[in-house]
Every structure is written in structure tokens, then in C-alpha cells.
């Protein structure tokens, strides 16, 4: 009885939520929305997925992210999805500069103020702070017999970054829908407008150590290292996929994806240190990456249903013309616990080689190369993630899940030897992070 009452209360509550969302959406989209009739009846054919993520690195960046996704699917393969993501990021991130036996002072990317690194510590830029709003809309419809079309728009805005993208794809069902071939195209245009402007690649970071008679003198010297207030990049992606039903309990997918990015690909906040033969830093210059990058990835995924569990395994091989190669293996295994809950251990292994122009630092006795970056994300490292997810159905039939994951990156040395003091210092920033995720679908 209590259960019945509770589920009644819950469905009433769900209805109230639906009505509130309906009212809010109509208010947002205007009265024309009402003319669409059934589409805006949120008690019908709609499904809502929400998620919350906390991401925290030890002593560095932490982020919270909220996701709201609404899907209207009146018929199979006739679907509209709208998704909003809001995330907020704060903390410190490695600037690319090398650790030293003494403390160091750096200029913030904006030119306003400084940050310091204690003796022996990898310099972290402490001004990492951003809020991002992302919105996606995706329409999926039957195009003609056995062919489904899908197209969508993407918008993402941070204080200093804007990304707009369009995508479209077609999927052909073959062999009684046991095989599906899909082909998709996506185009994105991004604009970067960092506070303090775009630094001149390979120019020296101007640091006020008391050598400037006035603030204006420092500002003039800082401004001389800026070439523009904003820059942009364009990304074209092609995705070809083959999905194959193997038998009653196994399904497989093979994907090939091609991506070409061109334009401003530097990270305007990253520098690379120049060191002398004793390993002492004599200068820090802004990084410079090539202005185009072509990426290829091959992805294979298999899902298999055992009697009481589901295995999900995927492998990805990636290569690009920056010299980066990577392998990713992901394994998830969902075990049913009774009728209404499950537990899912997750494992992910990732390994990448360094970009050709990646260097943890440069020797000041040698000529500065055309391209150089000390961004560890372009270096050689492995990443391991271990996670555990627990999901359950509420009395009202809604789904909830909690996931806790631990992610650790371990860098590998790309050099055979290091000069002087660098032998006793940490050169590559390792990282570990924890993420906690909660999802709720109704």
C-alpha cells in the first residue's frame, strides 16, 4: 500500500516536473511551439536524462559539470534530442615551464599579475578558471526505406572560447537490419579569444622582476609579445561505421574516423623553458605548434550478453601527422543484481607516444626549432582508469546510477639524459584524478 502510494506520489511529482518543463520550454520558445501539438506534450514519448559530474585532480584542476538531455522519440528511428551542458572549472594547470632548484616567478597569461613556483615544484598556472555552456540539438529521421538520416547543431561557449558545429550522417540497414553502414560528416568552427590576447609564438615571456621603471613600461613590453586578440580553427570530421549483429547475444561495431584541424592550434597559456648546460632556466618562450593536424582513428567495439551479465569491450588505435600514436582499451562488465539493479566495474587503459615537436624543455645553446611544445598532453604517457558503477531502478521505474572512478597518468621520459640540476628534479608532471558521477533518467 505504502509502495503504491509512493509510486503514485512519484508519478504525480514526475507529471508536475514535466508540466513545469513544458511551461518553461513554451515560455522560452514562444507560442508557436503550441501549434506543434503532441511534440510539446512532455508526458508523451519524451525521455529525460540528467547527469552530474565532479572531477578533481590532486592539487590541480577541479570541475563540476551538469547535463540535461531531453529526447522525443514518438517512433523508432524518429528522434529529436536536445542537450544542455554547463560546467565550471577552477584550479591550477602545468604551464609547460620546467621545475628549478630555486623558486620562480611567471607572468599570468592575461598580463595582470604573477604566479610563482616553489623550489623543486613544477610550475602551475593558478589562473585556470572557466565556465562553459554547451547546447546540442540532433534530429534523427527515416530518410527512405532502410536508410536513416541524422543531423545536428552544436554550440559551446566559454568566456574565451566559442565553438559552433554542424553534423550530418546517413545509416543504411542491410541483411534484415543485422548490418548497418553509416557515413557522417561534421564541420566545426572555433574561435579563441584569450584574456591578454594571442602570444607571439616562440617569443619570450616578459616577467616583471623589478627591471621596469614603471607599470606602463612592463605593459608595453608585454603588449609587444601579443600578435592578435583572437584566432580561429576549423575542424572537418568524417566518420564511417559498420555495425554487425553477430548472433542473438553479440553485437559489434567498426569505425574509421578522419579528422582535419587547421588554424590556430597552439595553447596560448603554455610556454617551454630554455635551459643552459647546467639545467638552469634562462628563458621561457610561448609554444608553437603546426597550424594543421590530420588524425585517423580505428575503433572496434563488442558487446556480449551472458546469462546474467553484459560485457562491453572496445579498442581504439589512433595516429596523426604530428607523430602521435595511441592505443585505448576499454572494458566494462555489467552484472545484474536481482531485477532492478546492477553493478559495473570499468577499466580503461590508454597509451600515447609524443608529438614530434614535444620537448620537456629546450637547450639554449641550440637553435630554437620551428615547432616546440612542453604541453604534457602532447608527451608520452599512459593513463589508467578504474571505475565502479552502481545503477538501480526507483519504484517509479526511473533509473539512477552512481559511478566513482580513479584516473592516473604516468609520463615517460622522452630524453636519454638531462643537463645538470634537472637530474634531481621532477621533469614530467604526473597526474591523478577522481571523478564522481550521478545520473538520473526519467
Amino acid at each position: 500500500m505504502q509502495l503504491v502510494n509512493q509510486s503514485k506520489r512519484m508519478s504525480k511529482k514526475a507529471k508536475n516536473v514535466s508540466t513545469a518543463i513544458a511551461a518553461a520550454s513554451c515560455a522560452l520558445l514562444g507560442s508557436s511551439a503550441q501549434a506543434e501539438g503532441d511534440f510539446w506534450d512532455f508526458s508523451k514519448d519524451w525521455k529525460f536524462d540528467t547527469g552530474f559530474l565532479y572531477y578533481g585532480e590532486t592539487d590541480r584542476v577541479s570541475a563540476v559539470e551538469g547535463v540535461f538531455s531531453a529526447t522525443h522519440e514518438p517512433e523508432f528511428n524518429d528522434k529529436f534530442n536536445f542537450k544542455v551542458v554547463l560546467d565550471s572549472l577552477t584550479g591550477a594547470s602545468p604551464s609547460g615551464a620546467i621545475a628549478q632548484p630555486n623558486s620562480q616567478t611567471f607572468t599570468r597569461p592575461s598580463g595582470n599579475g604573477q604566479y610563482t613556483a616553489e623550489a623543486g615544484e613544477i610550475p602551475l598556472d593558478d589562473t585556470f578558471r572557466d565556465t562553459r555552456l554547451q547546447m546540442n540539438a540532433q534530429w534523427t529521421k527515416p530518410a527512405w526505406e532502410n536508410v536513416t538520416s541524422s543531423y545536428g547543431v552544436h554550440f559551446s561557449k566559454e568566456y574565451d572560447y566559442l565553438s559552433l558545429a554542424l553534423n550530418g550522417s546517413l545509416a543504411w540497414d542491410l541483411n534484415q537490419k543485422n548490418s548497418t553502414f553509416s557515413a557522417g560528416l561534421s564541420y566545426a568552427s572555433d574561435t579563441y579569444e584569450p584574456v591578454g590576447g594571442i602570444p607571439d609564438p616562440l617569443s619570450s615571456m616578459v616577467i616583471d622582476l623589478g627591471q621596469f621603471p614603471t607599470d606602463q613600461d612592463f605593459q608595453d613590453a608585454f603588449d609587444a609579445t601579443r600578435i592578435d586578440s583572437s584566432d580561429d580553427r576549423q575542424t572537418t570530421d568524417i566518420l564511417l561505421g559498420w555495425t554487425q549483429v553477430i548472433n542473438r547475444s553479440t553485437i559489434m561495431q567498426f569505425n574509421y574516423s578522419y579528422s582535419n584541424v587547421s588554424g590556430y592550434l597552439n595553447d596560448p597559456f603554455k610556454v617551454i623553458s630554455l635551459v643552459d648546460n647546467g639545467g638552469i632556466a634562462t628563458d621561457h618562450i610561448y609554444e608553437n605548434r603546426p597550424d594543421s593536424r590530420t588524425k585517423h582513428s580505428f575503433y572496434w567495439q563488442t558487446k556480449h550478453h551472458f546469462d546474467e551479465s553484459i560485457m562491453d569491450v572496445s579498442v581504439r588505435y589512433f595516429t596523426d601527422d604530428w607523430g602521435i600514436k595511441s592505443q585505448t582499451v576499454e572494458y566494462k562488465h555489467l552484472f545484474y543484481i536481482g531485477d532492478s539493479s546492477f553493478i559495473e566495474p570499468q577499466f580503461r587503459y590508454y597509451s600515447q607516444t609524443a608529438a614530434d615537436f614535444y620537448q620537456p624543455y629546450l637547450l639554449d645553446s641550440a637553435a630554437v626549432p620551428e615547432f616546440a611544445s612542453a604541453d604534457i598532453r602532447l608527451g608520452e604517457f599512459t593513463g589508467v582508469t578504474l571505475g565502479l558503477k552502481y545503477g538501480w531502478k526507483t519504484n517509479a521505474g526511473n533509473e539512477m546510477a552512481l559511478r566513482l572512478s580513479y584516473y592516473k597518468q604516468s609520463a615517460k621520459d622522452v630524453l636519454d639524459s638531462h643537463p645538470g640540476v634537472l637530474n634531481d628534479l621532477e621533469i614530467y608532471p604526473d597526474m591523478d584524478a577522481v571523478f564522481l558521477q550521478y545520473t538520473y533518467s526519467f
Binding site: L89, D237, V245, K295, T439
Partner: protein, 79 residues
């Protein structure tokens, strides 16, 4: 030496895969009434799109690789 040993193996793997994809797919699969397990939401290739999106964002920000399962895309100033 190693390469010459590997090469015939690679070639045969390619042929076995290629031939099985071209001829095998028509014999693989199930009848429409055998889709009970495949139709479960947990058996969808991406069974939790919210989680997949959050993971993509994390790894896109921290690693040099993106895409594979879906478009690599632009997206944010985090990389």
C-alpha cells in the same frame, strides 16, 4: 627477419577478415524474433550517452586523442 615473418601473417589476417566481412555478414545475424537480448537498452552500443559524453570531455581535455566512437569534433578550449 621479424618483419618477413609477420608479413604473411598480416596478409592472411587481412584476407580472413576481409572475406568474412564480405561473405560472412549475410550469414551472420539473427531473425527479427531473436532480438530479445539485443533490444535491451543495456545492449545499445552506447547504453549511457550521458556518461559517454562526460568521459569524452574528460579524456579530450587530458589526452591527445579524441573521436573514434563518434566525431572527434572541436568543442572547447580545454585542449
Amino acid at each position: 627477419m621479424k618483419l618477413t615473418k609477420l608479413k604473411p601473417l598480416r596478409v592472411s589476417i587481412f584476407w580472413v577478415l576481409g572475406v568474412s566481412v564480405l561473405t560472412g555478414c549475410s550469414s551472420l545475424g539473427v531473425e527479427p524474433w531473436e532480438r530479445d537480448l539485443l533490444a535491451k537498452p543495456e545492449m545499445a552500443l552506447v547504453s549511457d550517452p550521458i556518461e559517454a559524453g562526460l568521459d569524452d570531455h574528460i579524456y579530450f581535455s587530458k589526452e591527445a586523442t579524441s573521436g573514434g566512437r563518434s566525431f572527434a569534433g572541436g568543442g572547447c578550449g580545454c585542449n
